[in-house]
Symmetry: C2
Subunit: 410 residues, 2 copies
């Protein structure tokens, strides 16, 4: 007996991962990467070596987490020859086992992160059944023992007239490259934040091309030349079984557009850090032992006093500042739960119910584009909203665009 699936249009297909990645949902900014990560090959050092050495392979450089870019909208990639002064000719020559045996906590290797392959570029690298242009990211921040080598790389590329994108957020990049950058930034930042083991306090080693950090059982640091065996290190609980401390951290965060019980108003709040007249959807970290819907109800209650009934998950957005997964929801207040009370949490400076007309107007004239105040036509003191690169804007836009009255997505 077949399931009834009324009105179920079939997804367009071609032979690359790219199109298969898009169903019917909204792809928020920083999502929608064109790369196939081939995550199962990260443990294969022969694969990594081969990808690293291929002439079509692209290297993205990050300095203090800023990407090398041609212009504010486009990343700049360099070649293997450009990174070699820092990485050496083959940073993947050795297996994880060999690296662990040779671990010396006084020696620092740069993080060379395998991002994936772009299967649209079929003339690129081949490995088994996988074909495409390989992409790596390299952390070239001039720090610690590798500072000089990193500098030699960055100075050489700057001499060619390319530079790192200034600023703290990089929301001017074109969408597919923003997703590549999000992956690179989140992963390299995780490596930079976690040089030590949370379980035992000893130095860790980056393996699997920047996607795992291991706490080695032995160390050659400080031993005289000609030593035959390394020192045993202190006990570490992460060495037994699989520990999540060895893998990148992503913090699930809820963000929610709350509509009034009758659907006519939208709840928005502002923190003290916001520019004048600027309001946004409420947001907060999901806590241990909570479902997404529970986190939404708790955060809205804590920040605004409003009681939420139904919660529907709308879309999600990777947000690499430093490591968030924004889970976007649209929720409905209960009829007697609409009173705003800021006395629970001190997080918001203000929260207000806005009419749909006010919000619709703000979407048109109160949204900044690339750091510029959105429009001259905004009235003094009228509502301003976050840009379209933020999921907050997409949630607000969905409500105003009739999401509540729309049919099911499946």
């Amino acid at each position: 007996m077949a399931l009834p699936i009324p009105d179920l249009p079939v997804l367009a297909e071609d032979d690359s991962m790219l199109s298969r990645k898009f169903g019917r949902e909204l792809a928020n900014y920083f999502a929608g990467s064109p790369l196939n990560r081939l995550s199962f090959l990260r443990t294969d050092h022969a694969f990594l070596s081969s990808a690293f050495s291929h002439p079509t392979t692209k290297f993205l450089l990050l300095q203090n987490l800023s990407p090398l870019a041609k212009d504010p909208t486009t990343l700049a990639y360099v070649h293997k020859a450009d990174v070699e002064p820092l990485t050496g000719p083959d940073p993947f020559k050795k297996t994880e086992e060999q690296l662990l045996q040779e671990f010396n906590s006084d020696v620092t290797f740069p993080v060379v992160l395998f991002l994936g392959i772009d299967e649209k570029k079929k003339t690129g690298f081949e490995w088994r059944e996988y074909k495409g242009e390989a992409h790596f990211a390299v952390d070239v921040t001039p720090q610690g023992p590798i500072a000089e080598k990193a500098k030699s790389v960055t100075e050489a590329v700057k001499a060619k007239g390319i530079d790192f994108l200034p600023g703290a957020r990089h929301v001017s990049l074109n969408a597919p490259e923003a997703a590549i950058y999000a992956q690179a930034r989140h992963m390299l930042d995780w490596n930079a934040r976690n040089p030590f083991c949370g379980g035992c306090g000893q130095k860790t080693l980056s393996t699997n091309s920047g996607t795992k950090r291991v706490c080695p059982p032995t160390d050659w640091a400080g031993l005289p030349d000609g030593s035959k065996a390394p020192k045993e290190r202190g006990h570490c609980p992460t060495r037994k079984g699989i520990s999540n401390l060895s893998f990148p951290r992503t913090d699930p965060t809820i963000i929610v557009a709350v509509v009034s019980a009758d659907g006519t108003k939208l709840l928005l709040g502002r923190s003290k850090r916001f520019p004048p007249d600027w309001y946004s959807t409420l947001a907060g970290f999901l806590e241990p032992g909570e479902s997404i819907e529970e986190a939404v109800r708790r955060e809205v209650y804590e920040e605004s006093g409003v009681m939420v009934g139904r919660v529907v998950i709308h879309s999600s957005q990777p947000w690499p500042y430093p490591a968030n997964l924004m889970i976007g929801a649209i929720a409905q207040a209960t009829p007697s739960g609409e009173t705003i009370y800021l006395g629970n949490d001190a997080e918001l400076e203000d929260a207000k119910w806005f009419s749909q007309d006010e919000v619709r107007e703000a979407l048109l004239v109160g949204v900044d584009q690339f750091g510029q105040d959105g429009s001259q036509s905004r009235k003094e003191g009228a509502l301003r909203l976050p840009p379209q690169t933020a999921i907050a804007n997409r949630l607000i836009d969905a409500v105003i665009g009739g999401y509540l009255g729309a049919a099911s997505k499946i």
Copy 2:
């Protein structure tokens, strides 16, 4: 202009957080806690002291992460007097600032975790406008310098005939208490796994009643009696601004029931660790720089070779083993992407398309109840599925129950 919201039944209300926590979505096992966490009061040591000392306050003990329980379905709580030999009369006497100033890395405090208040119990504790029975969890694992004190607590409760629940999973607990346990387990485990700072390798201090770990700038350890000032500790990057390393980690994980393009079949897989005939939905960790839908498509492709088009998020489940948020989805394969290929990732031993009839039968007779093989009526070699406490079962049940043909949730 009002938004059109056709057929929008209003949520039932009463005056507690509990009912407000439930909208129309499915509450999976380990979600649906009856407690209001009052997370904004965790920084208020006077509040915590007062809650700790109230005669109605309940203390849940965990030993090696197993809860104290009356029987396999019900938690056992103890009183302040029972935990005092370990915690002292008031573990919240000091502010975070004072604790930081007095930090001595040779001194170990037990973690006393504030879980929240049960507002249904109005005769309990009162603080400002908040009323209800306060709940704490205390880690009584006999380890390190506090081993003897912890033992004195556990032996005293065991002498009363109460014991810790055996086993590695605690899915026999009644649902509201399972959610309380999930919160306690996840948080206490996070504290136990992270005694050191990942940013600098030095010991950290648990503050905010077990919900934050701080890397103190100074240390009194090893100083002679009468010393006037503590030693400065090494630089730590987590001390500047807000660091996610200071807060509990939750790993977002996708889990997905994939239906065939025509909706007639369901894709299930098995790992080598599974009991005979047992299959489940596919699952895997969400990666940095991915939306939920992208993670679903990647994991299904990597584990089974199947290409997924549309993805709809169904529900979520906190899974405290050790720290997951399971994000449950229902997805649809593309018409030409249904061929199973296990050669990408080596994770699954097998993956298969099952007919709806097979799966419907397995939901009836192939599901274990509390560790017992589900039914005598299951045919030799017929499909077995995970229990109802697992979101995998709920996703499969949703598909078989007609989810794909159902109307929108909002």
